[in-house]
Each structure stands twice: as C-alpha cells, then as structure tokens.
C-alpha cells in the first residue's frame, strides 16, 4: 500500500531523472531549493567514502544554485570540448525508500543506473545510490540536498552531472 507521500517522492525522483535525460536543464534546476547542496563524495580508499565535504576532496560539492547553473551552462554551451557532442543518457531510478518524514522535510534514498552513449566513450554504465533531503514548500517537494554515491573509484573517462 503506497502512501501519498511515497508516490509524491517517487514521482519527483523520476521526474528529476527524466528532465536530465531530456536535457531540460532549466526545469531540472527549478526542482532545487536556492540554498541546495549537491554532493558527490570521493572515495577515500577502496571501501571508505568521503564523509566531510568541507575538508576533504569531493568529486563534486556544490552549495547553492549558482554553482549548478554554471555547470549546466558549460555542458549546454556547445563550447566545452568534452561535451560536444553531448552524451545521450538514460537514468534508471529505483528502490525508492522514505527514511524519515517530518513537518518540513522528508529524507529518501534510491538506487540509480545511467547508460551514457557518446561518440568518444561509446556506451558506459555508471551507478550508485542517491540520498535526498526534500523540503515541503507550498504543498510541493523541492530538493534541499542530494548526495550521489558513484560506485567507481577508478573512473574510465569523464563524468558530468547529467550522467549521474
């Protein structure tokens, strides 16, 4: 029996993935709160994931929407050497779980796999876990914090935000 909240969370995660695949960047960015945190920790060792984003090297650590907007600008500009042509992607998001829910916020997790296809790298599959802090704002949910665990610690090629 799925609760209304579960459906709402799942729909948001699916929508977010679909907007990335369709390269509808502005709509994707609008899902995030202005003071959002977007975090992809680096692996400290083969089995230890970074846990202090301020004081450790991260794969990506963006605080606030301008940082996300800058990345979108780069990949959609047609001027970034690695992103022309831009890879085609398909995200699969599943195993959505609600970890906690309160008046103001909801914590959720999910698993993801992304197939990326491009001329340079061919077909690549990357995957991992998502952890979300979602905020209740005017009856809707917005993304306050997203942590993306990328399982690879040796990365074949480059990775950008539409591929994870």
């Amino acid at each position: 029996m799925e609760t209304e909240l579960y459906q709402q969370v799942r729909d948001l995660l699916y929508l977010e993935a679909d907007l990335l695949d369709r390269q509808r960047w502005d709509e994707w960015l609008a899902l995030y709160a202005d003071d959002c945190v977007y975090w992809v920790p680096a692996w400290l060792s083969e089995d230890e994931l970074g846990d202090d984003p301020e004081m450790q090297v991260n794969m990506i650590y963006i605080v606030g929407k301008p940082g996300l907007a800058a990345r979108l600008h780069r990949i959609s500009s047609g001027q970034a050497y690695a992103e022309l042509p831009l890879s085609r992607t398909s995200h699969l998001v599943d195993t959505v779980r609600i970890l906690a829910s309160g008046e103001a916020a909801v914590s959720a997790s999910a698993k993801w796999l992304t197939l990326s296809v491009d001329a340079r790298m061919g077909k690549q599959i990357r995957g991992g876990w998502y952890e979300y802090e979602l905020r209740r704002e005017a009856g809707a949910l917005r993304i306050g914090r997203k942590k993306i665990v990328l399982l690879e610690d040796v990365i074949d090629g480059a990775v950008d935000i539409h591929q994870i």
Partner: protein, 434 residues
Amino acid sequence: MITDSADPARFRVDRRIYTDPDIFAHELRRIFERTWVYLCHESQIPGHGDYYASYIGAQPVFAIRQRDDRIGAFINACSHRGAVLTPRRQGRARTLVCRFHGWCFNTDGDCIRVKDEAEGWPNGIGREKYGLTPVPRVANYRGFVFACLDPGVGGLADHLGAARPFIDLLSDQSPDGLEVVPGQQTYLIRGNWKMQAENGVDGYHVSTVHRIFGQAMGRREALGDNADKRPTEAGRIKGTVASGCYDLGHGHNMIWAGRANPAVAPLFEAEEALLQRFSREKVDWMLRRGRNLFLFPNVQLMDQSSTQIRVFRPLAPNRTEVRVYCIAPKGESRAARIARLRKFEDFFMVTGMATPDDLAALEDCQIGALGRQARWNNMERGLEMVTVGADAHAKALAAEVVSSAARWDHETLYHGYFRQWAALMAAEHTAHGD
C-alpha cells in the same frame, strides 16, 4: 622520430611515438625502468608499516615506512609464487602476509615465516633466501618519494637538477611540511602517457580549451554564488597576465602565469610568515605566479588556485591511468583549506569543469596521430625568441634552467623533454635482471 635542428629553426615530432606498440614497450624498459619515477608523498606513509602500492612502468611495487623512519620499496610480489602483497592501494602492515599461502615478511622485506615450513621442507627452506626483491634505489626530495629500478642511476638530486628550486616553492610553504588531503581520484584516459605529460604544461591551449571554464565561473559569480568560493583568476585564461615557461633539463619543464589577484590564493594568509623565512623574490614566486611543473617521466606538481599532485602510469600506447591528490601546507586555516579544495574540485577533477576538456582534447590528438599520412607535430612556437639559460625570474631562485621563454604558451619547454626521451630511447639497455 624527432627533428631537432637549429638551422633552419625546426622542432617536430613524429606522431608515431604516441601510437606504436613497439615504441611503447621500449619506453617501459628504457625510460620507466631506468630513470627516477615518482611514487608517493611521504605524508601518505607517516608511520612504521604504512605502505603505498604503485607501479614503476609495468612493474608493481610498493613503498613502505620501515623501522627508524626509513622509506623502502619492493617489487609487489611474494617471493614464493608472486601474489601481490598489499590488499589496498594504501594501508598499514608491519607484517606483510601473503594471502595466497601465508608467507610473512617484515617491513625490511625479510621472509619471517613460511607456513608449515617443517612439514614441507624438513631440512628448512632457508628463509633468508626468500626476502622480497627490493627496488634498488629509493630517495626522498623534500617529501616527494622517487624510486628507480636501475641500481646504476645517478642521484635523485642531480636528476631533479633545476627543478629543485621549483619543488621547494611547494615544500617550503609551511614549516611543518605538506600533507596530502583525504580524498583522491583516479581516472583512465584514452591517450598516451606523453599526451598527459604535455597537456599539463601546455600554456597554449588554456585560452581555447578553458575559455568555457572561465565563462562558467563568471556566470556563477554573476548569479551571486554564496558558497565558499573565491573569485576565479580569469587573467591567465584570457592571457592578460605575465607568463613564461622553462626547459629545466633532464626532461623536466614548467609553465607559470602571474596571478592577477594573488589575495585569492589560499597561501596568501601566510605571506608575512613566509617573508620571515625567505626572500621577497622567492615569496613572490610562491604567491604571485601560478605554476605547473612536470618532473620527467610521470608526475606533475601544480600550484595554482589549488595545489595538485598528478601522477600517471602508462597502460598501453593509447591508455594511461592518472591519479590526482590535493596537497596542502600543514597548519593552514580552515578557510584557506576549504578554498583550496573547492578550486581543486572545480578544475582538477575528472568530475569537474576543466579536466574533462583537457582529456577530450588530448584524446582527439591520440586519434589524429593514427593518421599516418600526416606525420609530424609542430613544436616550434617561440623557437626564434627563446632565451638560452635562465631569465631574471629563474636567476632569482638560482635555477640553472636550460632555456626560458617569456610566454607560457610557447613550446620550447618541450624540447629538452623530447631530447631526454630520445636519449634514453637510443641508449643501450643496461643489464639489470634481463
């Protein structure tokens, strides 16, 4: 392979050196197994038994902190049947236990236990004959640990030569030394190791390949970025600051560019303390000139808005593994460390906004090099304007450089690197274990 002549001024390189499997096999033996190769920073193996596993060319090795604080290195293979002895890239093992048959070794490489020795070798196996094979030469320059498989190689300090004062510009940033910050990234590129070596000190590509990085950063700042970011130094991307490059001899080289706004550099907080210890000229080098230093054949030390060790390993003619670490002065403020790390992630990571573009460009060169009908790379930019020996900036550090150029986008810095490559490739292979 290399046309190198003064009259008429000419320096060109056969693209086959990036693609030919025979040349690649020779490089592993004649270059990587015969010269000093960078292994790790001493801060990564601080205590007895701390090890760091790596490769010298194709040969697996590990560096380990021994008793009395010495650093040794061994071929990473059990003396019995050859299994690798280190379960992780980095770890601690005062006794190295082979996980295959349980033989044990101490940090000096001595075999200290053979499982069921009395049963299998009633007269004793003679454990003293089964120590690990040491890497014959290991040396540390200002915290940076190098090793060489050829016992007859000259000293490390001589090998580093004119690069030493530029390494000192990093090592001297804190009286407590440097430390590798937790978190690393390893990535695989579809390019020859020399493509990586050349890209890291290529000033000429910055204003084309990284223009979009400058634009994206400008956009972030214009949108009112509220994170712990310091303004991007766009001057070097646009090419509006003073710059230069050096051929440092022995294959080493360096580019530098002035910092339009040195106050954003994480080290700037230490200016007064540095002036107590070093000359104004040296402190200006540390604070006011961003530098990319390549140490032949496998490591780059970057000191820009962030600081990086980039170490690479040849896998195949068109495959290279690259590992990057952020290195920072011990004891810097939290704010400086945060600024250093965020700049590192923006530019130096393969998940960032600049390195992917570097890789795409060099990978395109790798593809282009397959076009055998078009044979030569032109590396002549700046050849008619180069200064033989040290310019005033290098003289301030007493760096006895081979040549100096007054712009970082000249290509004369590569000439010594290719000459070193050609000299090592042409020399007879010395007989060590062949």
